[in-house]
Symmetry: C2
Subunit: 326 residues, 2 copies
């Protein structure tokens, strides 16, 4: 961990108590002056840190910014996801940023957050609105032992982690809309963009992109999305702590990624199905130029949707644009 | 076409005849001095171009180099593959070079050749030996309307185009070893590396990499490959014209890519099967830590190999390391 991570971890561990500069200096093997310099830097970033000659330093409040050292300090040790982490103030797309890291040979688990994306993407090359400081836009580099046709499992894993985390944080009931959206009260609040690079029979790496509309106000969305999109703030009526949410989400992702590696995908899929409002519903799916109407009956083991058409046939759908009917 | 392309195309069209500088200048809308300057440049590249005051210019011989303008001139108009073309003197891997073009939004069909690769790759991250000027190492950018699980079709298409081209050029009988090798007399002479970038249900682009061992001598191969690898030169007993081979191969690829787009994959697969020595043979396949032994019976519509195991079960194999037994 960096100096900042260790200092912030110590201040957080002390809760409403204080930590002496001497203790921090000793623990980190640096001078008290060096600690002081770091504290000043953290204050410049917006951390309100009280200092008293007797008691030492105390964390009064943290700013609503994503700070890599602080996220790492709060996250603690994870198995894979989040063992390294970067925060960009602005990037074109966090998926593109992670893709570059992947091609440079960076090992799996690295996470890139951006406070804003200038060219955020959703599925099928669509725009993902990502105004500065309002959401969580991040991507995770994975190098799973999966075949290309099994990669849908990672979308399901991510949706499941999102549902659990949002449920805990909001007390609401998030729903999954197949294949990659998470809804609150029927409106989209988060999405997943899973991109892979592969040989024909072997995945080289996967970039798992996640966008959560945390503190966006209705006017932060473009007019055409205002009826279908929402944010945690709109649904909960209060501003949410983005960093806390990020940390919780990374922990859930790491946990399920471990379960996946241990061969427990089926258990993950079962949880996912319980949250999936698409199953049992009449749907219309547009795949390219084709429209398919029917009842969404089940998932197959690879995460494809099985749809019973009007003519009684069961069709397997791996993607497309889904509309819930009625 | 560039000036050089047009000049070379005119010289080639004249065969053993000549083309006057005045005619070239008029056709290209430049001065005769400009034509002269280009001829000098081409001579510097190794083109032997005779000039006579009465008859004009005549192409005596072309050097054994890959020259983008010359390749384009010889290729003429193609539908997709080769409508743009680059030659690098050296690159790490042509697949990586094309991958970068893909991410910059370059349209499909562009081809990158390298005279040498410093980090040429085969399947499963293996090294591909690519000494300068001895082979054809190139990659093609494709943006096909395929799902990720259909991309094997492009490997089959490429293997098929390789077999046809090598058969015509050598008079020998190239064989396909599933999934991606082309053999002459049982030894590997060419290979295909198909890499894809995709969303879960949609291919973004495919980089089709092809390596052909054209004029390598036995000592150009590392010792561990000398028994299993060969070159066209070793098999034919003469040096082959790399540029002519490249042009023929690109034409075949373009033709079959058009057939694929027209829904004629099945016909391509049938041709492929006729050249595939793997079918009907006893094989051992290593997939990760697992070994599978049995008889290779057929291909399924996606290009996977169906293997009848010792226990009578039919297993579907999408990749792995295949050894022909006996």
């Amino acid at each position: 961990m960096s100096l900042d991570s260790t200092i912030l971890a110590a201040l957080r561990a002390a809760g409403t108590g204080s930590v002496s500069g001497a203790e921090l200096a000793q623990r980190l093997g640096v001078s008290r002056a060096a600690i002081w310099a770091r504290i000043e830097e953290l204050r410049a970033l917006g951390y309100d840190i009280a200092a008293s000659p007797h008691d030492g330093y105390r964390l009064v409040s943290a700013p609503d910014v994503l700070h890599a050292d602080d996220l790492l300090a709060r996250l603690g040790k994870t198995r894979v996801i989040g063992r390294n982490l970067h925060v960009f103030r602005e990037t074109a797309s966090t998926n593109d940023s992670v893709e570059k890291l992947a091609r440079d040979g960076v090992r799996e688990g690295v996470v890139v957050f951006a406070e804003a994306q200038t060219r955020g993407r959703g599925r099928l090359g669509r725009r993902w609105v990502s105004p500065p400081g309002k959401g969580l836009w991040f991507s995770v580099l994975l190098r799973p032992a999966l075949r290309p046709d099994e990669v849908t499992r990672l979308t399901i894993l991510a949706a499941n982690a999102l549902v659990r985390t949002l449920r805990t944080h909001t007390g609401l009931h998030p729903e999954v809309k197949w294949p990659n959206d998470v809804l609150l009260r029927g409106r989209k609040v988060a999405g997943i963009l899973t991109e892979l690079s592969a040989e024909v029979d072997r995945v080289q790496h996967v970039v798992l992109g996640i966008g959560v509309d945390v503190n966006l106000a209705p006017h932060d969305f473009p007019a055409d999305l205002r009826k279908t999109a929402t944010s945690l703030r709109s649904e909960c009526g209060r501003t949410c702590d983005r960093a806390a949410l990020a940390v919780a989400l990374l922990r859930e992702l790491d946990r399920d990624y471990e379960r996946l590696a241990a061969g427990e995908f089926e258990a993950i899929a079962t949880e996912w199905e319980a949250a999936c409002t698409t199953l049992g519903r009449d749907v219309q799916i547009r795949v390219g130029d084709r429209r398919l109407t029917g009842r969404a009956e089940a998932l197959d083991p690879d995460g494809a949707l099985l749809v019973r058409t009007e003519h009684g046939r069961l069709e397997r759908v791996t993607g497309g644009d889904l509309t819930l009917l009625k």
